[in-house]
Amino acid sequence: MSVDTTEHAAKTPDVEQPWAELGLKEDEYARIREILGRRPTGAELAMYSVMWSEHCSYKSSKVHLRQFGEKAPENDAMLVGIGENAGVVDVGQGYAVTFKVESHNHPSYIEPYQGAATGIGGIVRDILAMGARPVAVMDPLRFGAADHPDTRRVLPGVVAGIGGYGNCLGLPNIGGEIVFDSCYQGNPLVNALCVGVMKHEDIHLAKASGTGNKVILYGARTGGDGIGGVSVLASETFDAEGPSRRPAVQVGDPFQEKLLIECTLEVFAEDLVVGIQDLGGAGLSCATSELASAGSGGMRVELDTVPLRDATLSPEEILMSESQERMCAIVTPENTERFLEICEKWDVIATVIGEVTEGDRLEIFWRGEQIVDVIPGTVAHEGPVYERPFARPDWLDALQADDAARLARPANADALREQVLALVSSPNQAAKTWVTSQYDRYVLGNTVLAQPEDSGMIRVDEETNLGVAVATDGNGRYAKLDPYTGAQLALAEAYRNVAATGATPLAVTDCLNFGSPEDPAVMWQFAEACRGLADGCQTLGTPVTGGNVSLYNQTGEQAIHPTPVVGVLGVIDDVTRRTPMAFTEDGQLLYLLGDTREEFGGSAWSQVVHDHLGGLPPQVDLERERLLGEILVNASRDGMIDAAHDLSDGGLVQAVVESCLKGGKGARLVVPDGLSAFTFLFSESAGRAVVAVPRSEEVRFNDMCGARGLPVTRIGVVDGDAVEVQGEFTLTLAELREANERTLPELFG
């Protein structure tokens, strides 16, 4: 087999190359030739094509993502910001926490089990590469209509994959979301978030410095899986008929990943590592070029030393392979033997594949011949940047004019009662226990709160009870009506969810799921959502620490709703002070915090009762969100509240029903003056929460809210075994539980 060497490439400028098949555009290919001053070799072309793909280069999104840095609020807690494998936040007591959310959407549609499983594996390695021990995962999920036959294929596979990989790895799955909407038919969203904990001094960055240092590839052997996964899968739209190409899907091995975690943490503990990078999308192409470009020198790699699962792989394939459970470390020559020893102890294959060199070039050799000779930065960071045209979609005015206020409201108390039942039993509002009980939520013994609580909470220090809370939210319906506001509502909801459990919000990670950037309407949605999120983070003082963009979630002309999923991380000094969501004692007083307005655009009620999407989403008042957050955190710290639950989709009635069912207690509610029962129950005004206050704290709690200027309304009391709205209707807990809990098992069980 003849190899396309750099020497050969220089002599044969006119050889036809498959740049188009690899997803490169003509001008991109021309730019590569310009950078190199010759045609690329096959191996170089493979590297550039994967690294310049949308998924790796962020070429369409970069110009908009810059705002997250430019508008980043001053925040002393940030230790490592955007650009590394994951951001790192100081949570006090010498601890740092790293967290990040990523997408694995396209692979999960093609092969739901393995797609979702390897999504977990990938994000866990990102967190590991920062030097942290992964301690929890969460999965924000979006599927097509709950009753669509393909959802029956995709959802059980995805859930089993998340459970299978995460449970084998021994990581608790502490939350996330499950949302159904026909817009995700054919383009399900499988996002995965991981949280890791470390001491400040343990932070590790991805860079290769120090001439003579060894480049060690360790973990699984390299096989032919996922070749071109990045360029082909994540960066192109599926045809209307479904995926025509079925490239090799990656299969993960969680037991190998577990060894990789323990092995990596041990080499960190012995301080054997100069730089480290996980191998994810774009595999070795990404790891070698990013490590080399971040370091001070160059790098030389002997590609034929890479341990292979399939001896017939070509060098191009080895460079592009996305085989799972691999990492790449830079180690000094003195430490190399010890590093390899530790790998051997953990039964992890480790191989020196090259070394850091003087100069500034990444050179890769295959059986003694040079097949890559590039400036690594041109591969890793100097990919194309597109200022894609964007334009406010022409259909948006009509959509926003189609106000949900025109929809028929329940005519009498019986109709109101029926609509409450319909709401709590609808797939989006129904209990998600059928899914979450397939995940191990309590392994490792540090889970304080898990789904269905407002946020997942993990104890970080067993002596001091320091903990962190994480919530993810994103409402595609709101974002469709107004992407700027929709992104801020997602941020506000996640922020509120963290505060509702008693934790102080600190930092943000985001997964921006959108349609094709080549559609100006989609690009406008993306630009608006980025602007909204960056502005929102600035106001709330919570910087974006990292995240991921997933474009091309589109089948034919049909893009998904713009779906910015926002994860907020908060810190709590003492997890025993957390606020749960359950109403647990008769006599607890129920207070509604915040203002309730006539806001039904994009609401769950409009979807469930009228199958309607139109009007404007609820208003956002981030200063109010911040105040509400402070009140919730103070009330938790000072023991003023027994329970809190944030109000979001489904409005007050959904929140009260969930808190009642969780605690097994009923509630008597009184409709406040000036509100109709309908608006009271179903409005989705933002910046609200319901809290249960013990009688002994009533005065103190009210005084605090009054002094801080937060509207607070007493709406009832915890009592009995039914939810009663006085003068309207009564629903027993048994009826509500039946309605709320049977939906998912009936659909998927």
Partner: protein, 92 residues
Amino acid sequence: MARVVVDVMLKPEILDPQGQAVQRALPRLGFDGITDVRQGKRFELELEGPVDDAALARIREMAESFLANTVIEDFTVRVEESAEGTTAGAAS
């Protein structure tokens, strides 16, 4: 009665964690000389009627849509010679 056997194997480029675990275990147990192990599944289907083209087509459809996950697995269908000696054939 006839028996049709459907063998399902992971595609060659797909990682096979079970096969690898077996391969790693072999030398520890004193079985040397095995360079690779791939593990698959075998379905034995007992047919009610004769094994004709229609029946085989139906079994292939069954294998394609249910017995194998063709995104990551390949399968072969073959008729197993029964005691009575019905027709034999192989197809994939």
